[in-house]
Structures are given as C-alpha cells and as structure tokens.
C-alpha cells in the first residue's frame, strides 16, 4: 500500500516533468538514430586493395570505381604491408586459395572490399559460363557439320567428335576458396546490429542511473526524504517503491527503443525479444539501486553528474563496444566488476546469437546479486535519517 503510494507519486511526478521524460525517451532515440546513420552510411567510397600473386583475370574482375589496386610481389607479409602502406586490405593467392587480410579500422572500407571481391568472383563465373556456352555452341555447330559430312561421306570421320568435347571442358571457371583475417576488430565489428544491443543496455543504464539518483538526491536536499521517514513507512518500502516506479519507466524505455530499432531501422534480432526486455529490466534495476546509492555521496545535481566519468564511462569501455578479447588479461578481469559488462554481453548474445534464457541465466543472476547488494546498502544507508 505504501509502496503503491510511492510508485504512484513517482509516475505522476515523472509525467509532469516533461524535460526528464524527453531525456529518458527522446534522447536515446536521437542518439540511436545518429549512430544508425553514422555506421550505415557509405560515405567512404574508395578503398585501396593490395594484390599479391592473384590471377590477373580475378584482379580485373574485382577492380571497380571504388577500388584502387596496388600490386605487390609474391612473398609479402600482408599485415606488414597493410600497416606500412596504410591500405584497406590485401589479397594473397596460392593455388585456388585466396587469403584476404582487412585493416578494418574503417569497417566501411572492409565492406567495399568484401562486396567488390564477391562481385568479382561472380563476374568471373558468369564470364566463364558465357565463354563455355559460346564454345559449346560453336562445338555443337562443328558437330552438326561433322554429322552432316558423316551422313554424306565415309564413317571414319566420326572419331573426331570426342576431341572437340574435351576442349570445352578445359575452360571450367576456377573455384576460389577464401579465408579472411582482420588486423583490427572482427568481421562483426562493422554493423549497427552489433552495437545496438549494447547501446540499448547502455541507454537504459545511463538514464535510469541519472534520473533515479538525481530524484532521490532531490528528495534528500529538499527534505522530503526525512519527512517521509517521519511516517511509519519502512526504509525498504521507499527503496522498493523507487525500484518499481522507475523500473516501469525503464521497461517502457526499452520497449520504445527496441520497437524503434525493429520498425524504423528494420534491425533483425536472432533471439527472443522478451529476453532483451528482461535483461534490460535487470540492468535498469542495477542502475536504479546504484544511482540511489551513489546519490548519497552527492550534495547537488552537479555532483551527481560528476560521478558519470567514474561510474559510467568505465562501464562503456567494458561493455563490448571495444572487443574484450583484444584486452590484456587483467583488463578482462576488471570487466567483471562492471554490471554493464554482464548486461551488454547477454543482450549481444540474445540479439546476435539467439542465446536462450538458460544460457544467459548466470549473467542475470550476477545482475540480480548487484541489485540485492545495492538495495541492502541503500536500506541500511537510510538509517542516517531514521534508525528504525
């Protein structure tokens, strides 16, 4: 009952505070849209491609107006060459095997090379197919002529037929096999979809952290918090009321963002939509309890903002935007103290690999442990205002 009163109050206050509403619901959409256009724009139109020992027919096929070809000798070190000449990628050939190394510091350039190579090989196959059909047509004509002759003249000439057949089969297109390497990042580092789940988690985390923290801070500085504690309300009821009230807004925010990503950006996720919502709810509750906890160390809204570089920025760094696998071991371990790491990892796994509830449960449990831990700290911390 008293929890309900708190929840109702939070909702009413929130709807009256248009600026905060906008911060929570419009700001993430704006940033998401910006990111979308940033990652998906093909503003980079040219990429320099190094070739080493590649069939000239293939090189010719791959070449188009977006590609600048650099020819290298046979025995080069691809990574070395890429670094030295700052080119977007190198293709090396041995036999039918193509080894492509991408610099990948600008993923859109990697995309250009990938597309050109794909188009090139297809072009080659078509050309080969066309050549084969033309040859076959010619051969057919020849055979017809021979057949006609055969009918007229002596039967010994018929032995010529198989020879012309074997000639056409020699022109079959080469079937290239390819393998790719990346100097920076991975093959997946280039897509908006890869960032989207992380961004989802991050937005919910940041905004809920700020809004709940500032709102409790406001209660503290205006004296309403100690006024609240002059009523028979339990300290836990205040905290749970806060978690519920702002939790509702966090879920709404997640739903809006995911809906937006699906319908406006046409992003396809592999996993279950509701799992994303569940993970985000857990993340939001961590952010809430953390925000409330941190707010006890701030005496003004500005001081709350000052915590962002300490509390929020490191979490972004370890949320998966920067691939963890490339980090030093101790940094990888450090990631494990940040809640956003668990949330973002789970979100990514669900959205891009279709992870199910069972496989993200360990991460969810860790998030729940964070929630419980901070909530207890908060409830105990309120003893400063009333000792029971």
């Amino acid at each position: 009952m008293r929890i309900l009163a708190i929840v109702k109050r939070i909702i009413t206050e929130m709807f009256r505070d248009k600026r905060t509403l906008a911060l929570m619901f419009l700001a993430p959409l704006l940033i998401l849209s910006l990111m979308y256009f940033l990652f998906n724009s093909n503003s980079t139109t040219n990429a320099t491609l190094g070739v080493s020992n590649v069939d000239s027919s293939l090189v010719k096929a791959v070449d188009n107006k977006h590609i600048k070809i650099h020819h290298y000798g046979k025995n080069i070190n691809a990574k070395h060459v890429i670094r030295r000449d700052n080119i977007a990628g190198v293709i090396k050939q041995s036999g039918n095997k193509l080894t492509i190394t991408y610099q990948n510091s600008e993923p859109s350039k990697s995309t250009i090379i990938k597309q050109s190579l794909q188009q090139g090989t297809i072009k080659l196959k078509f050309a080969a197919l066309k050549a084969a059909t033309t040859k076959q047509a010619a051969a057919l004509k020849q055979q017809q002529a021979i057949l006609q002759k055969l009918v007229k003249a002596s039967p010994q000439l018929a032995s010529q037929m198989p020879t012309s057949k074997s000639k056409t089969s020699q022109q079959a297109p080469k079937n290239y096999t390819t393998s790719s390497h990346y100097l920076y990042g991975t093959s997946k580092s280039n897509f908006f979809i890869q960032f989207l789940p992380i961004l989802l988690g991050f937005f919910v985390f940041l905004f809920v952290f700020l809004i709940s923290g500032i709102s409790l801070l406001h209660e503290r500085t205006t004296g309403t918090l100690s006024r609240l504690l002059a009523t028979p309300i339990r300290r836990s009821e205040i905290i749970i009321g806060y978690l519920t009230g702002y939790g509702i807004f966090a879920v709404l925010q997640t739903l809006l963002l995911v809906w937006f990503a699906f319908n406006v950006f046409q992003v396809k996720i592999v996993g279950n939509f509701w799992l994303l919502v569940l993970i985000n709810l857990c993340l939001a509750l961590v952010a809430l309890s953390m925000g409330i906890f941190i707010s006890t160390f701030a005496n003004s809204e500005f001081q709350m903002i000052q915590f962002i570089p300490i509390v929020i920025i490191p979490q972004i760094l370890f949320s998966g935007l920067v691939p963890l696998s490339g980090m030093a071991t101790w940094l990888q371990w450090l990631a494990h103290i940040f809640p956003l790491y668990y949330g973002a990892t789970s979100l990514t796994n669900v959205a891009t690999k279709g992870a199910d509830l069972a496989s993200i449960t360990p991460n969810l449990l860790i998030l729940i442990a964070f929630i419980i831990g901070f909530t207890i700290l908060n409830i105990v911390g309120m003893k400063r205002y009333r000792r029971v």
Binding site: M1, R2, L4, A5, K8, R9, T12, E13, R16, D17, T222, G223, T224, S226, R227, L228, L229, A230, T231, P232, I233, R234, Y385, R386, R387, V388
Partner: protein, 246 residues
C-alpha cells in the same frame, strides 16, 4: 500511560559541539508545550530526537509509552518540520493524499481528512494548485495540514507559524485549542513570544540546558517581569553572568 512525551537527560554532540547537555521534557495529554530559545539553541535537534530521526549521545525518549525510535508510533505523531518538505510537482491535494496514504488513511476517510485539514489552514481553494505556485506562507500551511492529516494524538510542530499572517495564526491556534480539548498534545517550537504566552507550559532552552520551565504565568512571577519575552531576555542574561563569574 500518563506522559505523551517523556524525554530524559538528552545529550547530543555534533562533532565536538555539545548542542544539548542533559535536557529533559515531559508532555501530558491535553497539553500544549512551547519550546523556546535563541536560534541554534537546539530546539529542532530536540524535536528530531523525540521523533527518533536523530540519535542521542545520552538519554532516552519515549512517546506514548514506547521507546523511540519506533516506526509504529510514527502513525500517532503529526510532525511538521522546520523547513517545508513538499513535492513541488504535485498539487496541494496530491501532497496531502500522498502523506495521508503513508500514514495509513485511505478511501473516504482520507477525502474527509483532506477537506478538514485544508479548511483549518484556509487552503481549500488552492488545493488544486501545484506547490511551485504556492507562496512561502501557503507551503507552511500545507505542511501543517499534512501534520494533521491522520488526526494524530501528538502534534510536534517546529516553528509552524513562520510566514503566516496574524489572522490565520489565530485560526490555527483555535484549532490547536480544539485539539487540546479532545485530549491531544502539542509540542511547538516558536520564536514568536505572543504564541509562547498561549502555551500551557514553556521550556526555555539555552546553551544546551533547560534554563527555565513552567507555565508562562509562573515564569513571569519567578523572574518578576511582565512578558515572556522579558523572561527570555532576563534568564539569558543571568545565565551569561553566571558563566562569566565562574
């Protein structure tokens, strides 16, 4: 259960500064007790200690026979803090409703309580307005209305009439007297000496101790002066002389 508030030998030290040094206070049903003293004397601190919102270094407080701090007893105490603690984005009515619900008042009872409390402080016509459109005096009145919302047995009011015009102050005192008639108790801190005159009993707190206590009449006799204000001044002077003699 004879005493409504029973505070004994309260000692409070804030980082080396002794604010209260052995203050005792009793309040019986149907009594209005005024807490007076210079600014910074520790009136608010004492009130908070009685509410159980502040710890003590020594001494104990019992309210309605229950040792404080105690959560359940809070329902029976109507508290008005020295600074208004209201939700700016909510209307007067929503504030009243919220605190009423926290106090466990619900349904039609709550509606009646809101109407009555608003009437006492003359806010009935302004209940729909948001607090950020309220004047200082209106906020004070709303805080008082909130303190009365659950019809408590004890009212603890910390400077309730600051910024309230004389006419309305009369009305509020009329309400306090009517509560007193119903056997309820009021502890009030004040700076206004004509309000002090209206209390049944006064406690003058100065430099950490209860310098003088008794009914306004008895105090005036004791110090051989005509007003409570003079009691206040004379008692203070005597205390200063005493401490400088030592």
């Amino acid at each position: 259960m004879d005493t409504v508030i029973h505070a004994t030998n309260i000692k409070k030290i804030y980082s080396n500064k002794t604010v209260l040094n052995g203050v005792s206070l009793d309040l019986i049903p149907g009594e209005i007790v005024g807490l007076i003293g210079p600014s910074g004397a520790g009136k608010t601190t004492l009130v908070k200690i009685i509410m159980g919102m502040e710890s003590t270094n020594e001494g104990e407080v019992a309210v309605l026979g229950t040792k404080m701090p105690n959560r359940a007893v809070m329902t029976k105490i109507g508290y008005m803090a020295q600074s208004d603690a209201l939700y700016d984005n909510l209307s007067g009515k929503e504030n009243l409703k919220f605190f009423g619900q926290l106090m466990g008042v619900t349904g039609s009872k709550l509606d009646k309580a809101i109407a009555h409390a608003a009437d006492v402080v003359n806010l009935t016509d302004d209940l729909g307005k948001r607090i950020n459109n309220y004047s200082g005096g209106m906020k004070r009145r709303l805080s008082l209305a909130i303190a009365m919302i659950q019809d408590p047995d004890v009212l603890i009011l910390d400077e309730p009439t600051v910024g309230i015009d004389p006419e309305l102050r009369q009305q509020i005192w009329a309400e306090l007297y009517s509560l007193k008639e119903q056997g309820k108790s009021v502890l009030i801190t004040t700076h206004v000496m004509d309000e002090a005159e209206r209390c049944d009993r006064l406690a003058l707190i100065r430099e950490g101790i209860t310098l003088a206590a008794g009914s306004p009449k008895a105090l005036k006799q004791e110090y051989q002066v005509n007003t409570v204000e003079d009691v206040f001044l004379k008692a203070g002077r005597l205390q200063d002389e005493n401490s400088s003699n030592r």
